[in-house]
């Protein structure tokens, strides 16, 4: 379980304040909120790139608040996937294992296994600039999952995909999560993404976590209504 307690982050005029948040092992947790409310700041604080003024982050009973990023075992998938451009797909995925000095034959076994699960076996020798958006996303997922992280932090991972691919990627992530049961914190400003993927949704506004709810409960809140009202004219246009 990941427990975030009394987290306070200050960056110039911006303040992030999360008093209490618990995420269960194996849960797919989505943080939803408009741009600029501090979703990425929260992820970077969890990763250890931003030092909080106050607060603790506890993972399975261990306080990781003062550990450097490399010792937290949290894997980050940024919006543009940040694949290492000078390495092929295999070496990208193997990076975390090589850093951990895993024997080379075991690296090969684990990388091939995750590539097969993510259906990217055929991309092994390709460079990131030879991949499509969807393929890049799968490689980034493979690279993060192969190290068995405590938690996968996904920062708007579908934002750079075209709408058709986004639907495909959502169902792929859902299937993958069902299969591997990893713990994920996924931040997005897209309500469809949040409702489709999230087992629970945390709603953020102005640097604060306003509430945590199931997708069904979230739909009954005024915040969901705001998103739905925004979509209504578009739906009418489609029906017409």
């Amino acid at each position: 379980m990941i427990l975030i307690k009394d987290l306070l982050v200050k960056i110039k005029d911006f303040t992030l304040n999360i008093s209490h948040l618990e995420i269960r092992n194996g849960e797919y947790f989505v943080i939803l909120g408009p741009s600029g409310v501090g979703k990425t700041v929260l992820l970077h604080t969890l990763m250890g790139f931003i030092k909080p003024v106050n607060g603790t982050i506890i993972v399975n009973g261990v306080d990781v608040s003062n550990l450097p990023p490399e010792r937290r075992n949290f894997a980050l998938i940024p919006q543009d996937f940040a694949l290492f451009p000078h390495m092929n797909v295999f070496d990208n995925i193997a990076y975390g294992l090589r850093v951990r000095k895993v024997p080379e034959d075991e690296i090969r076994r684990r990388v091939l296994r995750i590539m097969s699960i993510l259906e990217i076996d055929h991309l092994s020798d390709r460079r990131p600039d030879q991949l499509s958006g969807g393929e890049k996303q799968r490689v980034a997922l493979a690279r993060a999952l192969v190290i068995n992280p405590h938690v996968l932090l996904l920062d708007e991972p579908l934002a750079n995909l075209d709408p058709r691919l986004r639907i495909k990627a959502r169902s792929f992530i859902k299937r993958l999560h069902k299969e591997l049961c990893f713990t994920a914190i996924h931040v997005t400003h897209n309500i469809v993404e949040a409702l489709d993927l999230g087992e629970r949704i945390g709603y953020m506004m102005n640097g604060k976590l306003i509430f945590v709810a199931s997708p069904e409960e979230f739909l009954r809140t005024k915040h969901a209504r705001y998103y739905i009202n925004e979509l209504k004219p578009l739906l009418k246009f489609i029906v017409d």
Binding site: H44, M47, G48, F49, P68, P69, E70, R72, N73, F74, A75, L76, I77, P78, D80, A82, F84, P85, H86, Y95, G96, V99, R100, R143, A144, I147, P149, L153
Partner: protein, 263 residues
Amino acid sequence: MLRRVDFLILLLSIISTVGISFIVLPIIALFLLVDPDILVRSFLKEPSLFMEARHAFITTIEASLLSTILLLFLGIPLAYILARMDFPFKSLIEGIIDIPLMIPHTIAGIMILCAYGRRGLLKGLMNTLNISIEDAFLGIVLVMMFVSFPLIVDTIKVGIMAVDPMLEMVARGLGATRFRAFITITLPLSYRSILAGAILAWARALSEVGAILVVAYFPKTANILTLEWLNVYGLKYAVAISIPLVLLALSLFIALRLLVRAK
């Protein structure tokens, strides 16, 4: 309208041709003025002249290479800090790094004497270590490092800034320390800038004469010897000794252009 544009392009082309000719003409002139007889006499028939020239070239190449290697050790960490971190007085430090670009070369030499010379600020330390920079190989290396410092740091800094910091962040999330992320991600992705910085610094070191003249006339570098031969034997001898230096500088320039094109 079309005719006016054509006239403008014609005018700009003429001005540009004058500008390019201004640079190219002295290079061509140098090669045209080479007297083969003097070239043979200075480098083959008179052993003393040949030995003097050979020694000066070896000193120049050794000192410039050593200064470039030392600058890489000093420059890469500094460039990384400047590219990646924000801290108080950062702009001031960036300004200080660029000072050697603005200072007249002879004054740069005097400044080095004031700091590291026999009567300089660090005279106690230099005397204790029994190190002297006046008329010494070390003095030449220090001068070359001083004048090349901004070129190498600024070029590498720009290269590191062009590497997406998110790549390092992802690497650290995957378990790499900051140092390992630098070695495995940032360094390979910015190696062209590092190489370009090193070539620029080396070329700058090769071309230095004013500050070296002040700090260390001996052992003579190729530039000092050129100046000396110009004064003692005249222009034709100076031309003869200039040719190898120009060829070396031009080959460095071509290497740099190829590197930039490869980018």
